[in-house]
């Protein structure tokens, strides 16, 4: 392959440099294959020992004392044993929602949104240290770039996907420091009619903390392997008049990660340096709230270039109003911008890639409760991508697009234990292209501890500007097909005990017109996916928690060929317990992934692997101080994913609160 490239490069005119830049931008680089068999024995052993812990656990006795006889002043100073509690979902969804809370983020030492998603049922994240992007894989998608434009990342319910390629960023190029996150919810499937074009295969809803959760200033410093270094300053407070304010800034750098570069001349080792700067602001008062974020992430000496940078910003203003007793309105105005820069040198001299997207939008959502047993939701959205500029060496594209959307949705309580959700979304682009996505679900509670959900729907997705650009450059194609997925899902949620929850789901997806940008060509395919997953969660009095999940998935195209980067088995295990109150807490996490096909070459298989992470946290052992020490990939497993893993990572974070 490299010889052919060399020959082509020598003979072809500089105009083809554009094709080469686009090929590199849209493909992955090969790595040496290392195979390790999946180690499920170890996983099940850990599970057995955890079960032994459950059996030997002594439950706290209920107090016989009559507390109502004690003065209130004494009660507020009395120590309590926290009751076992399971996290409750915030997102409105008829699928099985995965939740990771701020307490989990702290207990398991998650450093980025990648780490958080990696712990979720049915999801796998391949973090590329090479060019600083991570690739999310899940139900029926997993190829490099596959998730872009098909998963919507929401921050406090508004979408932060960038407009050029529909990407959402979960690493150092994302907006949020994980310490600002209150919870992350992942809704697989086409979410609901409420979420737009990019919510094709799922929605990730990140809900941020409020100023009052900090109640003062917090300073934090992190250091870790590969010269990981991050400093953060956060101020959050709710003032006497009710204004809630949160401001945070951080700066991060990570030197010395190995990036192996395969070029025409052969393999080349180089050190890569990644940095970022972030600012985040959130203010809310009465019915108004304002949110704004900025992140700039430069990489020096990444694999594909000499310098690469992602910069994103957004600002959003929301007003929630109660128009009358039966009608509520939520109005939001948003502005966003994404800037991408990539520069390097080749045999023709210096080159640069550049893309810039700027967009603005207005959304209005009405919730009406005029009819008994019905909750109606009507939404109108206008989105203007007024600048979409892409440059790959030569051809400059400067375009724009406008989209109008309308959705209507009803929640109908047919009986006290039967609920129907149904609705549809209509979207129209300024080029005349229209899509309609209907969806319906039945939620049935045969007994108080059991919930059964059946849902079915069709979701459509317009091609992203980047897809249209590449299709035109390569195949001379003027219009790219709309993708269409038909989804069917069955979910069973069961409360096994007051603090034990079981969740199982079965699903089947069928995608038509799946756009695949494969190694500089454009292909439109039928893709099928089906799978089953199960998750168990248990919480003990006193603050110990356990979560274990297993997902089986299979995806193939019309020819029956197994899709790339789509492992058949994914297993996750999380356990955390206080060892000395919250002054010392342990968090143990193991994730196992089975074999899968290399994204660009179906002849190559990546081996299965499992990774174990261990975290120790300390809260307020000394007043105002919190510390966290984490070892990721404890057993130093070497495994190949989109790029090779970076071995065992050690990480220490110290933070101080000033209230």
């Amino acid at each position: 392959m490299s010889n052919k490239n060399e020959a082509e490069m020598r003979e072809s005119p500089p105009a083809d440099r554009a094709r080469e830049r686009v090929r590199v931008a849209s493909s992955v680089h090969r790595v040496a294959k290392l195979g390790f068999p999946p180690n499920f024995k170890r996983l099940s052993f850990a599970g057995l020992v955890a079960a032994a812990f459950v059996a030997s656990h002594v439950r706290a006795d209920d107090s016989e004392m009559d507390l109502t006889k004690l003065p209130f002043e004494q009660l507020v100073n009395t120590e309590i044993i926290t009751a076992s509690k399971l996290a409750k979902q915030v997102s409105e969804a008829s699928s099985a929602v995965s939740i990771v809370t701020a307490a989990d983020i702290k207990a398991y030492g998650y450093r980025t949104l990648d780490d958080i998603l990696q712990s979720m049922r049915g999801l796998s994240v391949a973090q590329s240290t090479a060019n600083g992007y991570s690739f999310l894989g899940g139900r029926g998608f997993g190829g490099v770039g596959d998730y872009a434009g098909r998963i919507t990342l929401l921050i406090d319910s508004h979408s932060v996907n960038e407009s050029v390629g529909g990407q959402s960023f979960f690493g150092a190029n994302g907006f949020l420091d994980v310490e600002l996150i209150d919870r992350v919810e992942y809704i697989p499937g086409a979410g609901s009619a409420m979420y737009g074009n990019g919510a094709f295969l799922g929605v990730i809803n990140v809900i941020t903390k409020k100023g009052r959760d900090f109640d003062g200033t917090q300073v934090a410093q992190e250091d870790g392997s590969h010269q990981w270094n991050k400093s953060r300053l956060t101020y959050g407070k709710q003032l006497e008049n009710g204004l809630d304010l949160l401001i945070s800034g951080s700066s991060y750098s990570n030197d010395g990660r190995n990036a192996t570069r395969y070029q025409m001349a052969g393999a080349e080792e180089r050190l890569e340096r990644e940095q970022n700067h972030r600012l985040f602001l959130k203010a809310s008062y009465s019915e108004w709230s304002l949110e704004s974020g900025w992140v700039r992430r430069p990489i020096y000496a990444p694999i594909s270039a000499e310098y690469s940078s992602d910069e994103s910003r957004f600002i959003s203003l929301t007003h929630d109003a109660r128009l009358n007793q039966n009608l509520r309105l939520s109005l939001r105005g948003t502005f966003g911008e994404y800037l991408f820069n990539n520069t390097g040198t080749d045999q023709w001299g210096p080159w640069f890639d550049f893309s810039r997207g700027r967009w603005g939008g207005i959304d209005a959502k009405f919730v009406g409760t005029w009819f008994d047993n019905h909750t109606l939701v009507l939404g109108v959205e206008h989105r203007d991508d007024y600048q979409l500029r892409m440059v790959f060496a030569n051809p400059l594209t400067d375009t724009n697009r406008r989209t109008e959307s309308f959705y209507v949705y009803d929640d109908y309580e047919l009986r006290s234990n039967v609920q129907l959700n149904y609705g549809l979304r209509y979207e129209r682009r300024d080029n005349g292209s229209e899509i309609i996505s209907p969806r319906a679900a039945v939620i049935f509670k045969p007994w108080s501890a059991t919930v059964l959900k059946f849902s079915s729907g069709v979701a459509n997705r317009q091609p992203t500007p980047f897809e249209e650009y590449v299709a035109y450059i390569y195949a001379g194609v003027n219009s790219v097909r709309t993708e269409r997925v038909q989804l069917n899902e069955f979910v069973w949620e069961q409360r096994l005990a007051p603090a034990t929850r079981l969740m199982a789901s079965l699903y089947r997806y069928r995608t038509d017109g799946r756009t695949i940008l494969f190694d500089s060509s454009y292909v439109s395919q039928k893709v099928f996916a089906q799978g089953a997953d199960v998750e168990v969660e248990h919480s003990w009095d006193g603050g110990s928690r356990l979560k274990a999940s297993y997902a089986w998935q299979d995806s193939w195209n019309k020819q029956g060929v197994w899709m790339t980067n789509s492992p058949h088995h994914l297993a996750k295990f999380n356990f955390t317990t206080p060892v000395w109150g919250e002054k010392l807490r342990v968090g143990l996490e193991t994730q196992a992934v089975s074999r899968r096909l290399e994204p660009t070459d179906p002849q190559v298989r990546f081996g299965g692997y499992s990774v174990t992470n261990l975290t120790l946290t300390s809260s307020h052992a000394i007043q105002g101080w919190q510390a966290s020490f984490s070892v990721r990939n404890v057993f130093n497993r070497s495994y190949s994913d989109v790029v090779t893993s970076d071995g065992r990572n050690v990480w220490l974070q110290l933070s101080r609160d000033f209230k």
Binding site: N39, K41, F45, A46, V49, A50, F53, S56, H57, V58, A60, D61, D62, S63, M65, D66, L67, T68, L70, F72, L75, V76, T78, E79, I80, I81, T82, A83, K88, V90, E92, R212, Q238, E240, N241, G242, Y285, S286, Q325, N326, T369, T375, D411, S416, P498, D541, G542, S544, F575, T577, P578, V579, W580, G581, E582, L584, V586, L588, V634, F635
Partner: protein, 179 residues
């Protein structure tokens, strides 16, 4: 492979050993189960709040949605509040809330809560919750913090409902939100 199994086993043994002192410490004489404490707080909130017109009859403390109290709340049956006998009721329909002086909102879907709030809007019903999603909507929000049970008061929601809190209650609150 064997070494790794032993390593994991060792870690979990440490956890087991480490967890025992944690549990033992929590079972010391002074520590109280969370929901028993919440029940006591509900009693005290009832004592320290004034309702506009007290109809003669029972003082109804209602629980809406999932009840995690177990037997602890039943201990409040018959206690005297403002020379009335307290009754503990479980309600599942929003309309039933109109006959309550206090409604504790347990684990309920947000939609059902919206309906409840619409029904009792401006009525003198004290709403209390421990559900973080309703932190801004209920008049009193309970949360566990640093092994203590703390509470927040939404002063304007309660004012709109013609309820008055005693200064003692406001003093003991972690925060009083007014706009």
């Amino acid at each position: 492979m064997m070494r790794r199994l032993i390593f994991i086993f060792g870690i979990v043994q440490v956890l087991l050993l480490g967890a025992v002192p944690g549990i033992a410490a929590a079972q010391s004489a002074s520590a109280v189960p969370e929901y028993a404490m919440k029940a006591a707080y509900l009693y005290n909130f009832s004592l320290l709040t004034s309702w506009p017109n007290q109809p003669s009859g029972a003082f109804n403390l209602c629980v809406f949605g999932q009840d995690d109290f177990g037997p602890t709340l039943d201990g409040l049956q018959g206690k005297v509040v403002d020379s009335q006998q307290m009754r503990v009721l479980h309600i599942s329909r929003a309309e039933d809330a109109k006959q309550c002086q206090v409604v504790f909102i347990g684990d309920v879907e947000p939609k059902r809560v919206a309906r409840l709030m619409a029904v009792i809007e401006r009525s003198p019903v004290l709403t209390i919750t421990d559900d973080k999603r309703l932190q801004n909507d209920a008049m009193i929000y309970l949360a566990a913090e640093n092994q203590r049970l703390v509470f927040e008061v939404n002063a304007d929601t309660s004012k709109r409902a013609n309820l008055t809190f005693s200064s003692k209650l406001l003093r003991l609150a972690k925060r009083v939100v007014m706009q």
